[in-house]
Symmetry: C2
Subunit: 199 residues, 2 copies
């Protein structure tokens, strides 16, 4: 008789509910949405509850906050618990659909404090969001933090657009980078895979 | 006061525990491991509990079954609940680590009934597994089922290898394809994103 694990749960950190209870229902400007996401990324390292990454799902037009997520890899021993997967899954749970671009729904946007890694790039495509808004992209994140972003397709912008996802980039880029520098300066763990000796 | 969702849980389908309780502790041959994964993909559509996809984490050498997963997107309204994410997360929960390639661990293998989609390709890279074993890759899955696999990097094999992940492919390829044909013939739902009118 083989009893295998059959469920798992992922949760936001202890400070999350108190912090988000003070937020407004809607955030109208893109810059203000990004400022919130960057602040969440900073709080996640300040409290040592995960990597320097945060994401949020918003109604594109109204700015209604549907969900917010931060990186929870180490806390939950789960390498898929990236901020984007957290935010998208929480939004889909709240709205009761696996397709945030489904019929009778307003358009949704995913806001992230950097270009999603190769896994979350795919998670974004499958989520149904119609806009991906990022603080920036380029070598800075890997250079500053030591994280690997993984291999994305060369024409990653066009691949998004061909699936009905618009890209907005370079919103509070320097502010996002400042948190990566804080992560490095605090000496926080870079949770890279295959740290065993067998590889 | 804004009460946002702060946790979510994903589980295997109702038939899972009874089925897996009959399995041995270890499955030594790669072909037998793949046969089990393909049978799980078939059971998932027979019971109408998700898409035609299954995955498992095994100890590479001994064949010890660490975890098994099937696609649970529709059941949980979660577009990230692919079979690979389920199996990898359940394995990491069981072993208490986000790195299946961590110190003092034997090598682990992810077995899937096709090349992982773009999201799960990334999830595989972050998981710490040291071998990815697939039934096959190529246009057949998309052609038969209507699913989009998403954009992977052109040199996806080399990108795996450069991160210490070996690939083994074409194990029970025809048997895997037979389940995709069964999925199509049953007229099961292809849960594509952005099915709203706004895109």
């Amino acid at each position: 008789m083989n009893r295998l694990p059959d469920s798992f749960a992922l949760a936001m950190p202890p400070w999350f509910d108190a912090y988000t209870s003070t937020l407004p229902e809607c955030i109208v400007s893109s810059t203000d949405r990004m400022a919130l996401i960057i602040e969440l990324s900073r709080l996640n390292i300040e409290h040592d509850t995960g990597g320097p990454f945060a994401a949020g799902v918003f109604e594109l037009k109204s700015g209604r906050i549907i969900s917010l997520g931060v990186n929870r890899v180490c806390a939950h021993d789960c390498s898929s618990a990236h901020a984007e997967v957290m935010a998208l899954s929480l939004a889909q749970k709240r709205l009761g659909t696996y397709d945030l671009g489904g019929p009778d729904l307003p358009e949704h946007e995913l806001v992230v404090n950097w270009l999603p890694c190769c896994m979350c790039y795919g998670a974004t495509i499958w989520s149904g969001v119609k806009r991906l808004t990022i603080a920036g992209h380029g070598p800075e994140l890997e250079e500053i933090t030591g994280f690997d972003e993984g291999p994305r397709p060369a024409d990653w912008v066009r691949e998004l657009e061909s699936r009905g996802i618009r890209l907005a980039s370079d919103i509070l880029r320097n502010e996002a980078i400042a948190v990566y520098k804080e992560f490095r300066n605090r000496g926080r763990l870079v949770y890279a895979p295959r740290q065993g000796s067998g590889s």
